[in-house]
Assembly symmetry: C2
Homo-oligomer: 409 residues x 2
């Protein structure tokens, strides 16, 4: 077997490559960045892995962070209504967030230690045909970059034409973690969300503040303010917006110690949610499969993109292990296997960023504040986006779910 | 729960109904025929259940024929080339064929014994909307009849515009069964196939001869000859065509005892292979799911229609047990789950009836005659049409499969 060529050394490409190496399938990963470049540079995201992903990491033998200190146990919700709602929800098994500048180089090391071939080389669309001649199958796992344009965007599954949130995510010191340790999901109606995430980075256990700002809202300025121009002013602005909109987090901040952990530990921007076709056929007749963000991009508001990429890599890997003829039948089997979870991830996330919020989402959030089992189910479903969407896909579904918990309207 | 309404008391409707009753879901089956009418009348088919279906029958608690006498163990192949090929293939677990005029009334009895509601009532397209108001979900499992037109035929999966075989199937006495007991699949190139099936009917253990006649071929006359006009002449014609084209069966016939078991035990006609959409939306906003032949019709040449209907019923039942909101999301989940097996069944069967036969099919048949493991895999895959299609979907796939058995071209 000439093996599998994977473009991209993010979680999608690496989880796939590692799974295939466990079964001795030859794999080459092409990356436009070296291991050192993956470890350096600007904060790329603030990713939490939920327990289904952690379970896959165990199976892959890359669970290097299996200690209590890395885990968190649920979500603390705060909804800043005139009568604010504040309530927790708990997982059935914990999540953990690691700085990807630590995570990816480490598992890339696992990949090369296990015989994976890693080649630093930017791949442009014209190169893909050449790679397809060299490998049995080429997988495009290059993230949100331009290569994903090989896979047409599906209008039926991509309701937005622009990013729905303007992001400002940074790593901070000076925030005591919540008890029990968890992510705080704080909603400021009309302005957006703050996700406060306990994360392990170069500075140790720190806190990611991911502000998801609605364009035109009061916190939008966070996505525009320039840290480098005046670090102290920037930090003051973050503190002030947190105080105004997100009291559950603010009350744990020690203003004297509050600071960004470093000038590179900040990312501002926005992502355009897109669901793309699963695969494409090259002029030479070979098929290429899209994976991870190259296939489906979601807003980070409910922390699903990387988890979905890992899930999707797993299903693709299973299919490769079962069937080594990489024709349209193969691609279609991959698409069938992952569609329910991947599309549910996109649909759920797209609902979460809708402005104004859907009444049935508000109904569910209200019910969560009154019923611990409802809150726990919603929370644990961060590991099961398909089940989450079974609950949330329509007002009728929310009603039925709540009725199942003895909550009639 | 107002429960599930099912139109049709064939294997599709009954297997679904029985599964749901095991979980106390209210079910009503509507049938245009009474139990007595199901038990009487003309031979409807000559169905073999393969081991995956038998396993489901065990789970459903309807395995009333779990005795050695009902089972058969593999296929005896004969290909009437100038140098004829003759070789067996064995299952990993046996199949069995029962006259559906015995089978269906018996399991309908199980259904009503277990609290299923059975209503004799023809349902026409206009009635479906009314039923959909009365039930949470309506499933159309009405077979090849006109109701299936509610679900558009998929041109991409339905390559034929007319039946590819003219059928003549009857139950006969006077044929000793093959050793070990099996189905004989005999091919007369250019003329069609004979499937000789040990089957249990009202007369006990008899033999179904299912002639699959290529239009214009030498045996086409079997599909036109009128038994009722002259029974003896008809039986003589069958004997003569069997002698000319299907020696492996002919050699086990005692001409003195050879006769049709009864004037009703004969069916002539043809089926148009069709793959239809999985579901449709009614003007009242409710969704209706297609099941069994109402969803996908295949030629009987490889005995898959009823097995596929049972599989599909099982997957639909599982989905109903998991999710009781019968909206488009629900329907899509059903479609995703069953597509690989159902479409593989259709694609494989459509390949088997192609005239002239595809070279890669001939290549595989040739390899089967030379390699017992290859023959056994093909034979056992009558229980796994998806795996069969993994082997047969293209010349490349056949080549790879054979290479895996050490057979290079
Ligand atoms: C602020 C933020 C917070 C987030 N939080 C979460 C979270 O909590 N949970 C979660 O699950 N997800 C989260 N996500 C989403 C998550 O980061 C992504 O979904 C995930 O990292 C995508 O992984 P990937 O492997 O598909 O792509 P990437 O990580 O983008 O990897 C693609 C790789 O391909 C390389 N590459 C690109 N183009 C080429 C080319 N032409 N040739 C060669 N190499 C190329 C790139 O250098 C890159 O290394 C968050 C995202 C953001 C922005
Ligand atoms: C000769 C022959 C041999 C075959 N051999 C095999 C084999 O070996 N293996 C195999 O798996 N398959 C075989 N098949 C195919 C198999 O018979 C069918 O695929 C299967 O029986 C279809 O089951 P069903 O429940 O979908 O439909 P049906 O069995 O057709 O049942 C539909 C029911 O709905 C009722 N109905 C129809 N319209 C209405 C209406 N408007 N209102 C109310 N009720 C209605 C009908 O009376 C009928 O009872 C064979 C078929 C033939 C013709």
């Amino acid at each position: 077997m000439a093996g599998i060529g994977i473009v991209g050394a993010g979680i999608a490409g690496l989880h796939l490559g590692l799974q295939l190496r466990q079964h001795d399938v030859p794999v080459t990963i092409y990356s436009d960045r070296t291991a050192e470049q993956l470890a350096g540079g600007r904060l790329p995201n603030s990713v939490a892995h939920h327990h289904t992903t952690v379970a896959r990491e165990r199976l892959l033998g890359i669970d290097h962070w299996d200690a209590e200190e890395y885990f968190y146990f649920g979500h603390h919700h705060y909804i800043g209504l005139p009568d604010p709602l504040s309530f927790p929800g708990f997982f059935t098994a914990p999540s953990r967030a690691l700085d990807y500048r630590i995570y990816l180089p480490r598992i890339l090391g696992d990949f090369t230690d296990r015989g994976g071939d890693f080649q630093v080389r930017p791949v442009d669309p014209a190169d893909v045909a050449e790679l397809s001649d060299r490998h049995d199958l080429v997988v495009v796992a290059s993230g949100r970059g331009s290569l994903s344009a090989m896979f047409p965007r599906r209008a039926d599954k991509s309701p937005y034409d622009s990013p729905q949130r303007k992001l400002c995510v940074g790593l901070y010191e000076g925030i005591a973690h919540s008890e029990p340790r968890g992510v705080t999901m704080s909603i400021s109606p009309g302005n957006g969300e703050l996700l406060e995430i306990p994360i392990f980075s170069f500075a140790g256990h720190v806190t990611a503040l991911l502000f998801e700002n609605i364009p035109g809202g009061d916190t939008e300025v966070l996505a525009e303010a320039r840290y480098d121009d005046d670090p102290a002013a920037f930090e003051k602005l973050v503190l002030e917006k947190t105080r105004q909109h997100h009291p559950r987090t603010f009350e744990r901040i020690d203003p004297a110690k509050f600071r960004l952990t470093g000038p590179q530990d900040l990312l501002q921007g926005g992502v355009l949610p897109s669901v793309r076709e699963d695969y494409t056929r090259l002029p030479n007749g070979k098929y290429v499969v899209a994976l991870g963000d190259a296939h489906t991009v979601v807003d980070p508001v409910v922390g699903q993109g990387a988890n979905c990429a890992s899930y999707s890599a797993w299903e693709l890997g299973r299919t490769i292990l079962e069937d080594q003829t990489f024709d349209e039948r193969f691609c279609r089997k991959v698409a069938l296997r992952r569609e329910n979870v991947v599309h549910a991830t996109a649909d759920w996330t797209n609902l979460m960023v809708r402005v104004p919020p859907a009444p049935h989402l508000l109904q569910l959030l209200g019910a969560m504040s009154a019923n611990q089992a409802v809150a726990d189910t919603f929370t644990d479903n961060f590991s099961h986006p398909d089940r989450q969407w079974d609950i949330l896909a329509s007002p009728e579904r929310v009603r039925k779910f709540l009725a199942g918990h003895g909550m009639a309207d």
